[in-house]
Structure formats: structure tokens, C-alpha cells
């Protein structure tokens, strides 16, 4: 009974957000384009033969960066910015009265955006294959399923981290600058710009203990068929979710107690 109710709520939220997102198709298409930095990086790597030193062939490296692009497309999170705006405009108050945590609304928003984004990402990948026909490959269904799961887990980790930062809005009002700060290590350490294998050893020795390589490097390696520890990666992703979720619940409970309504 209860689960049925929750299901219906989430389904309705998703439907509303999806029709909402479809209105912004052009914006989402542009947003998909703005994620092409991995392709520029690939260009530097292969054009200067940098990959020879890390023992990855041109084809495998181009698949890696393609997958990094793909994983990034489906793990982009912007909940801090939405929540900050809503909280500054006083929109959070009505959400708090509703019998569902407002973060479900943002969650549905993100999922709906991903569904809208999917065709655009496919178009970009299609163009990538036209320019690099030698890198076409079809991952087997087991790997495909596992990489979809790990991409979703990566999205969950980032969503949880950002939700925790978003809850800081209850205290500081400008939480987005903290998010911009956190984005820097995510950008450089997640494997979006360079595969983690290529990092110097003094970084590799500790990086696997942080959540960063599991955000993009691990799912991308999995999907592209590069060498990676599948069970280790997945369990680290799940471990981080189990660590972050209670933290989010705690900060949410503390924050809502602090909450003072703003706006009109």
C-alpha cells in the first residue's frame, strides 16, 4: 500500500518534470554540446602520441573518452543551483508542507532531464563515430547493463554530495560557491580530462580511496572495455552511497529545524 503510493507519487513527479523538460529541448541540446571537453582532450592525447607512455592504444583511448563523455552526460547534477534559487525565492516553504521530501522533486527533475538529453547524446556519439569509424564497438549486454548501473550509481553519489551541499543553504544562502569549489577536484580527478591510469603514482596511491575515480573513470573504463576491477569499483560506489545517505538525512533534519522562510 505504502510503496504503491510512493510509486504513484514518483511516477507523477517524473511525468510532470518530463513534460517540463521537453519545453527546454534547445537548452538541453546546448547543454549536451557543452559536455564535449573530453573530445578536445582526446585530440591532445592522440595528436601528441601521449598514450604510448601509458600503454593504451589510440582506439581504446578514443573509446575511453567517448564513454567518459557519455557517463558525464548522464551524471550531471545541478541540484544545488535549483535548491539555492528556490530557497532564496521562498519557494521551499510550500514544498516543505507537502508529504514528500522536496529532494524527490529535484531527483525526478534530473531523471526527466536525462531522458530528454538521451537523443542528443546519441546524435553526438553518432557524429563521433563518423569521424572515428575505427573506434566503433558494441559492448556485450552484461557489460552494458553493469555500466548503466554504475553510471546511475555515479549519478547517485554526485546527487547525494550536492544535496548535502544544497542543505548548507539553510545556513549560508550561497551554497553554490561551495559547489563550484567541489567541482574542481571532480573535474580534474574523476577521469574526465585524463584517464586515472595516466596519473602519477603519488596521486594514484590515494585517489582510489576518494569517490572521484568512481564518478567517471570507473564507469567509462567498464563501458569502453578497458581494464578495470569491476566488483571493487561497484562495491566502492555502493559504499560511498551508504556513507553519504545518512549524512544527507542528518543535515536535512538539522537544516529544516534552522529553516527560516524567505521571500514574500
Amino acid at each position: 500500500m505504502i510503496s504503491k503510493l510512493i510509486n504513484r507519487k514518483i511516477f507523477t513527479l517524473l511525468k510532470v518534470q518530463y513534460s517540463n523538460m521537453l519545453e527546454y529541448r534547445v537548452e538541453i541540446a546546448l547543454w549536451a554540446i557543452s559536455g564535449i571537453i573530453p573530445f578536445f582532450m582526446l585530440n591532445i592525447w592522440t595528436n601528441n602520441n601521449l598514450n604510448e607512455s601509458i600503454n593504451i592504444s589510440d582506439v581504446m583511448l578514443s573509446r575511453y573518452f567517448l564513454c567518459a563523455f557519455f557517463v558525464r552526460q548522464f551524471s550531471v547534477v545541478w541540484v544545488v543551483f535549483s535548491f539555492e534559487e528556490d530557497s532564496l525565492m521562498g519557494k521551499v516553504s510550500p514544498y516543505l508542507i507537502q508529504p514528500i521530501n522536496p529532494f524527490f522533486r529535484y531527483f525526478a527533475q534530473h531523471l526527466a532531464e536525462q531522458i530528454t538529453r538521451f537523443p542528443f547524446a546519441l546524435i553526438i556519439i553518432f557524429f563521433f563515430f563518423i569521424f572515428n569509424p575505427e573506434s566503433i564497438w558494441i559492448p556485450n549486454s552484461g557489460i552494458l547493463l553493469l555500466s548503466i548501473i554504475s553510471t546511475f550509481l555515479s549519478f547517485l553519489i554526485q546527487f547525494l554530495i550536492q544535496s548535502i551541499v544544497a542543505c548548507l543553504c539553510f545556513w549560508t544562502e550561497k551554497a553554490s560557491s561551495i559547489e563550484r569549489l567541489l567541482f574542481i577536484p571532480t573535474l580534474f580527478l574523476s577521469g574526465l580530462l585524463a584517464p586515472v591510469v595516466s596519473f602519477p603514482t603519488y596521486v594514484k596511491s590515494w585517489i582510489y580511496l576518494t569517490p572521484f575515480p568512481y564518478l567517471i573513470d570507473f564507469p567509462a573504463n567498464l563501458l569502453s572495455g578497458n581494464e578495470t576491477n569491476i566488483s571493487g569499483g561497484l562495491s566502492m560506489q555502493i559504499l560511498w552511497i551508504f556513507l553519504l545517505f545518512p549524512l544527507f538525512k542528518k543535515i536535512w533534519a538539522e537544516g529544516t529545524k534552522k529553516y527560516t522562510a524567505m521571500g514574500t
Binding site: 527546454y24 534547445v26 537548452e27 538541453i28 546546448l30 547543454w31 554540446i33 557543452s34 559536455g35 564535449i36 571537453i37 578536445f40 585530440n43 591532445i44 595528436n47 601528441n48 602520441n49 601521449l50 604510448e52 607512455s53 549560508t172 550561497k174 560557491s177 561551495i178 563550484r180 569549489l181 574542481i184 577536484p185 573535474l187 580534474f188 580530462l193 585524463a194 595516466s198 596519473f199 602519477p200 596521486v203
Partner: protein, 264 residues
């Protein structure tokens, strides 16, 4: 044009926006840490590229650092002036308050491109200059008068080109209202300004010098620093900058003709 009047007005702009921004002091500190981390991150990425190679696109590591320095300065300028003002333009157009700007006895482009200022960008500019002076030392560059004039000219031209690119997108707000994502696309393209142009493949090089002249923005000033630049390149940059500035002005005046306010 009455220069003294504009200077006086600009002083007022500075005063009011500094006063409002300095209310968020911790925010400025967080932004400074972000800028420092982002610079460390890009140097880390460069060091990965150079760990087994002496040259990337014909540039040594010490020389590539100059590009990073110039990029940091330009990025600081973007964060100080272009980005906060663009936010304002979007707001003006969405809420219809552009009417008030147009009614003022002052040039509208001057008003909307310089009204706001974000002081945390200053720190980034200083960081860039710091890195540049370090590069001057390690590359043993002689500070002659002609070198200083040439680098001043080229960097000013880069600022003009960058400003025009941002202002073009801001202007399109008049038709499209939401331009955040177009800015994201520009930002991701600008990202390649952190690397020497020669490290990219031929087709990308052509794209980034003819269609979006990002190549001019950082590579040519860096070549001036190294004394490698030919005169025709500097002249070309001056011409490109002039054309861009003039077109952005024309484009703004043209766009204003289709401005049809917003109901309040």
C-alpha cells in the same frame, strides 16, 4: 562622447557593486580557494601530458605555463566583469527592466557591460600575474620596452575578443531569453585556450582560429612572451579584435530594434 562623465559614472558603478558584493565575505574566500585549486588542477593536468614527453605541439612545459598564466588572467577578467554582467542582462530582459536602462541618458552597452563587478575575480587576475612573473623568470625573458608594449597590445586585443564573444551571447538574450546554456558551450570551448594551439589536430586548429577565434586569445600573447611571434600574427589579432568589437556594437544596436519589453 563625454569621457569624464563616463568615468564618473563608472566610479559610482564600482562603488555600489563592491558594496553589495562585499557583504558575502566568506563567498569571496571560497572563490579564491576555487581559483587556486583550479590553477593547481590545470598545472597537474599539464604535468600529466608532459610526464613522458618533452614537448607538446612544440611547447616545453615551462613555455606552456605562460599560456596557463594568460588564461588565468583572462578567466579572472571574465569572472570579474563579463559573467556577473551577463547575469544582469538576462535579468533585465526577463523582467523587462531593460526599459529603465534604455531611458537613461547614457550609452546602454556601456551600462549593461560594466554595471556589475565581482571582486573575487581580482584575486584570480593577481594569481595569473603571479604565475606569469614566475614564468618570465624561469624562461629568462628580457623585459624590454618593445616586449612590454607588444604583450600589452596582444593581451588587450584578447580581452576585446573575449568581451565580444560574451557580449554576442548576451545580446542574443533579447530573442531567446534563456542563454545560460549557450554560455556553457562557449565556456567549454574556451577551455581549450589553456593549451597551445599546435597541440590540436589540424581541423580543430582551423575551427578555433577561423570560426571561434579562441586560438588568438591565449596562444598569440604567449608567443609574444617567448619572442616567437611574427608581426603578421599580431597585426591579424589587432584586426580580428577591432572587427569583433565593431560587430558586437552593431549587433547590439540591431538587436535593440527587436526588443519588445516584458510585461510586469
Amino acid at each position: 562622447m563625454n569621457l569624464r562623465k563616463y568615468l564618473k559614472v563608472y566610479k559610482k558603478f564600482l562603488h555600489t557593486s563592491l558594496a553589495s558584493e562585499l557583504e558575502y565575505k566568506t563567498n569571496i574566500l571560497v572563490d579564491l580557494i576555487t581559483a587556486i585549486l583550479s590553477l593547481i588542477g590545470s598545472i597537474f593536468l599539464l604535468s600529466i601530458f608532459f610526464q613522458n614527453n618533452g614537448y607538446i605541439g612544440g611547447w616545453k612545459f615551462e613555455q606552456a605555463l605562460i599560456i596557463q598564466g594568460i588564461y588565468t588572467i583572462l578567466n579572472g577578467i571574465t569572472n570579474t566583469w563579463f559573467n556577473p554582467n551577463l547575469t544582469e542582462i538576462v535579468k533585465h530582459i526577463r523582467e523587462g527592466t531593460l526599459d529603465f536602462v534604455l531611458l537613461k541618458p547614457i550609452d546602454s552597452q556601456f551600462f549593461i557591460s560594466l554595471k556589475k563587478i565581482n571582486p573575487s575575480g581580482f584575486l584570480e587576475i593577481m594569481l595569473g600575474f603571479f604565475l606569469l612573473s614566475f614564468c618570465i623568470r624561469i624562461n629568462q625573458i628580457n623585459l624590454s620596452l618593445s616586449f612590454l608594449t607588444l604583450s600589452f597590445i596582444t593581451i588587450s586585443c584578447s580581452i576585446c575578443i573575449l568581451y565580444s564573444l560574451w557580449f554576442f551571447i548576451s545580446t542574443t538574450t533579447i530573442w531567446f531569453v534563456k542563454t545560460w546554456n549557450a554560455i556553457e558551450v562557449l565556456r567549454s570551448f574556451l577551455y581549450i585556450g589553456r593549451f597551445p594551439l599546435n597541440s590540436f589536430s589540424f581541423s580543430l586548429r582551423v575551427f578555433f582560429s577561423i570560426i571561434i577565434p579562441i586560438a588568438f586569445i591565449t596562444t598569440i600573447p604567449s608567443e609574444v612572451f617567448l619572442g616567437l611571434s611574427q608581426l603578421w600574427k599580431i597585426l591579424l589579432e589587432v584586426i580580428v579584435a577591432t572587427v569583433f568589437l565593431m560587430t558586437s556594437r552593431k549587433f547590439w544596436l540591431f538587436a535593440l530594434k527587436s526588443y519588445s519589453s516584458a510585461s510586469s
